[in-house]
Symmetry: D2
Subunit: 358 residues, 4 copies
């Protein structure tokens, strides 16, 4: 009921921020895949807190254990269960919000929906849950290597600061700085901005752009499970996401059809398009061009300032920001966006195996 994603490569995550552990069960990973545990850990490290001065200073190692589904280093075709124990369980940090609804958090809606909630650190609604997605996404990435598919996300906007279009960037440079923007000049400004916001005890939003290269033609299922519709859902399911656009996106609506259409031409054996307003997807199905999309993240809801709110009984209260939180979520969101993208692409790759008689 909402905690699973995927049709053939299916993940089910579980766990609360301050419970014993979080984790994921992957059902449908084909047998025979070499499971590179060091790579999984390196992906988790890209997401983990405390990695730089512009992220939360909370320390969590996010070390994982594979409980099943891997034998002598390879996937066996049976469910792969991965568990990450919660180490930093300073739940006393959260006593003050036990009966209080923090503004723009999920406290109120969970309380109303379920009549009960684990209030510690947001419980199930915490972004900590995304660590499980990153672990599963790492395995999806290992599988995508077999198909030469490359997925690269980066920070393209913080507040009003924008990087140039991805086509003019060297995406191998994304990890060269702590904000994960491959344009070093923009990156520097972004870091300064986030640092200033942090000193203001405030937070700010941003955009993560993701580019998927070398996708085979034919991924995506008409009519509801269009490739970009699933990408959209996957991205919108990430905490703090407010919008999704692919290809020409919201800007494209201003164009005329004669400007927007992507002409086909023959490039040797391959049929390609001269422009790519389509963002690599036509009729919901990949056409082999770069798939690219933007994911908008709102400013983090937890701020180090006093805010007005109410408690469970509706009494007015003041909520004071405590704990250690991110002034801007996008640097750590980059591996999460990549992980969800990998899960979407892998799932469609497997689904495409039965599209036609062979």
């Amino acid at each position: 009921m909402g905690n699973s994603y995927g049709t053939l490569f299916k993940i089910s995550t579980f766990g609360e921020s301050h419970g014993l552990a979080i984790g994921v069960v992957i059902d449908g990973c084909p047998a025979g895949l070499q499971i590179d545990e060091a790579f999984i850990q390196s992906e988790l490290n890209r997401r983990k807190p405390g990695q730089s001065k512009i992220t939360t200073q909370r320390k969590e190692d996010d070390t994982f254990k594979i409980l099943s589904g891997v034998f002598e280093g390879k996937s066996t075709g049976t469910p792969i269960a991965i568990v990450i124990e919660n180490q930093d369980q300073r739940s006393k940090d959260y006593g003050h919000i036990e009966n209080t609804f923090r503004p723009s958090h999920a406290d109120f809606t969970y309380q109303e929906k379920y009549g009960i909630r684990d209030h510690r650190g947001g419980g199930r609604s915490s972004a900590r849950e995304t660590a499980a997605r990153v672990a599963a996404g790492a395995i999806a990435k290992l599988l995508l290597r077999k198909y030469s598919v490359e997925i690269n996300a980066f920070v393209s906007q913080v507040g009003e600061l924008k990087s140039p279009h991805y086509t003019s960037l060297d995406l191998t440079k994304t990890e060269d700085n702590i904000v994960r923007c491959p344009d070093s000049a923009t990156a520097e400004k972004m870091i300064d901005l986030i640092d200033q916001v942090r000193l203001d005890r405030d937070t700010i939003g941003g955009i993560v752009t993701c580019v998927i290269k070398n996708t085979p033609v034919g991924l995506g299922e008409p009519v509801f499970d269009k490739l970009h519709a699933e990408l959209g859902k996957a991205m919108l399911s990430i905490n703090a996401v407010k919008g999704f656009e692919y290809g020409s996106g919201f800007e494209g609506i201003k164009l005329r059809g004669s400007q927007h259409n992507d002409e086909f031409y023959a490039d040797g054996d391959r049929i390609r398009t001269r422009t790519n307003h389509s963002g690599g997807v036509q009729g919901g199905i990949s056409n082999g061009e770069d798939i690219y999309f933007n994911v908008a993240f709102k400013p983090v809801a937890t701020i180090m300032q006093d805010q007005h709110s109410v408690d469970k009984e509706g009494n007015e209260v003041t909520v004071s920001g405590k704990g250690r939180h991110d002034p801007c979520v996008v640097p750590r969101a980059v591996p999460i966006v990549e992980a969800m993208a990998a899960l979407v692409i892998v799932d469609f790759l497997l689904r495409s195996k039965t599209s036609k008689l062979v």
Copy 2:
């Protein structure tokens, strides 16, 4: 495999643009619902071609037949099958594209994915499929009436022309003009613009904004099936959609957390928020405030101009626009957006029945 939507209120659509018929099977409609056939027809009429000078002049009546699931005017709990026969089957209009890939259409991707395609009018990739969604959505709307949920979509942008924010509009006026923008001054300009674009034998994009009022608190499922994630998927699955944002959306990223957070307050028995950057959804679950979101539609790909392209063998060809097409899709997209929104909300309403012990 992609042609169904929903978990408990599940629709499966079928049919090609120029086949015998299109239709939908609804599985999971609770028994005892009065099925108002006149209302279903009125919803189909809002979507049908030929309704005004700024839509395609193609004539299709889109009359429907209910084959099952309704007895003496009421739903019986068994599948409701609805069929709409295709009347305007001038398939000779399409002979010229049998072996040609129209720019920014799904011709190429369907051909590659399936090795075969019904090329007439786009076949399954035609927006004609959305008539089936509108019929199903009408039944979802009938069910939502029992919960007093109101769904109103309207055209908020065409090209660069924007209407004011929905909170300053009277949404009952949407149907007062042919472009479906409740602000009459903007509407007039939009109509002129679309008419000009039509005369230019071109097309243009736009935005449909949708507002959902009176949603109960607690709809939406963590963590992958967040309410806005499903809305996003549902909207992105509509033909020509390029982007989705809810609440503060892409603009919200520029704000600070202290500006963006929605403070809670007690309004009598009800807990509400003073602002609504959250767009009525927090942590993926409805909080009872208005849900509102924008859906970006690209300019229609079919233009009445010559374009360069290739045929199946990769030979260069010129594609000439023929037939009768929409210069701008958003006026007819309004009921489609509403239908998909209704399907999402109904499904979550039914899913919410088992969230907690009662």
Copy 3:
């Protein structure tokens, strides 16, 4: 919610016995399959009423129309919708049961579950629904031909009369007689018995045995979707079925492990078993040997005799059998069992495409 079957080759049926039509939508049929309409009709003819003196004398032609998903004779990968209009709608035959619960029918349970029911001919609970399955199953069979899989069902028991074990029968003779038992001596006795039962204005049960040959090794998914578990569910979903057993079945429990185990041996390149108590399935996965199973059908509930019952208000009433009904359901159940078996096998064939890296 319950009207769909299959994971990748998914069918959704709809329709009531005396509504406008029944039908099925098939989603997930691979593109490029030649759709042999004559074969579909011949399968429907094997199921249709009025085919011999030992079936109901009701006349329905069960002619079908394909509304979508087939272009120039081939499947296109999009949903295949098939409709069979109801011709014999003598609903006046059913006025007497509008408010009455017929013994061992679904009248009472539908009424309680839904608060409303289409009482005419059992409505949705009528075995007429299985015609839709047979049509879908015919397409599944066409696909299985590509893999050389053969499915043959036959009547192996009527009342106490049993045919010999399938391994001593020539299954090509099943259609040689009206009871569909390939052993002509037994068939004759069965026909006489059913005829006697009919004259007694009564009904009797029986067993359909099904044999699937040439299944590839590796079909079936651990742990819940075992091949035989899905076969069991598929068979038990057929009207009037009371039991399912495969391989050694209920008799096998009396054996010792040393008698029951199937020894492996090498038959050229192929690994086979000397005996086949396993019924071709080990650990829920096909091992390449014949899959065989028994399906038990109860005596038809409609009898031409007066029975005691109650009406909706609980008043005592007498129900008198009217209309034209089958004295024994198994001869017409043979193609239904085959259809469901084909649907199960095709679905697992498609699912098996992603079991391992290739």
Copy 4:
């Protein structure tokens, strides 16, 4: 892909016999349920090995840990993850079968399907996986208590030894003896028989009968997800099961309709049936009478005798039984059958919440 069961109350199991752990994630348990951990442990104890002289002497404590989804003793509506660590990992016991296919085990089919397998103790195909089902089933039982539904399974047959029909038994006596047959005279004979089979270094099959009382009217979904069809699938998915029948079952086919039909009568406000050949299910939907069914278990495949077989390369080998195994599986299967029954009933209970408008 096969490792999940249920629609609204959905379980996903993972883990191999000799890996780090087995476990289950439950998604869809309503919030607010008191989770009685002692009860879960007591259910696991009924299944665990080493509990009596007629079960395997292997010692496993099967202690469990709840990782998520429970807060201050109650379910929160989020996924409940339960892990059972594997303690007895004497994998050296299995070195001799690394390359060998044990007769009537899943070794061969897993190897062919996946190209790789964890051979230790059968890996994923081991009945150890059912401990995860029992843990999940215990939570389902806790939920069913709210509806007063009672589920009681017992051993009704071992080899040729049969107990009387359930209606003449006191089912509260099932746990009074180690074979779990409530008829003490039959139980004694069964125990002697199993003990003799064990001394013969052989195994034997049996039947578990399950009775479900107080089920509300209206559970089960037409037409594929009939209540008995799901029960059948659930039971057939248990290791070693070869057959399923409910109500009159295979014997019922010999009856005439006039004998088999269950007459309705009014019992105060309630409409009941005088006989119950229907087994509490009509048209796939519960009618409020006792639901009862039989589950046939084959003799355990592992015997303490030499058997002929082949290795991966097809060479003839002798397989010698080692380790500690059950001479008869049915006593330990009783809680597994109950657990699967509870999971089926709970799922249909939740599904029934949206059958009709309220």
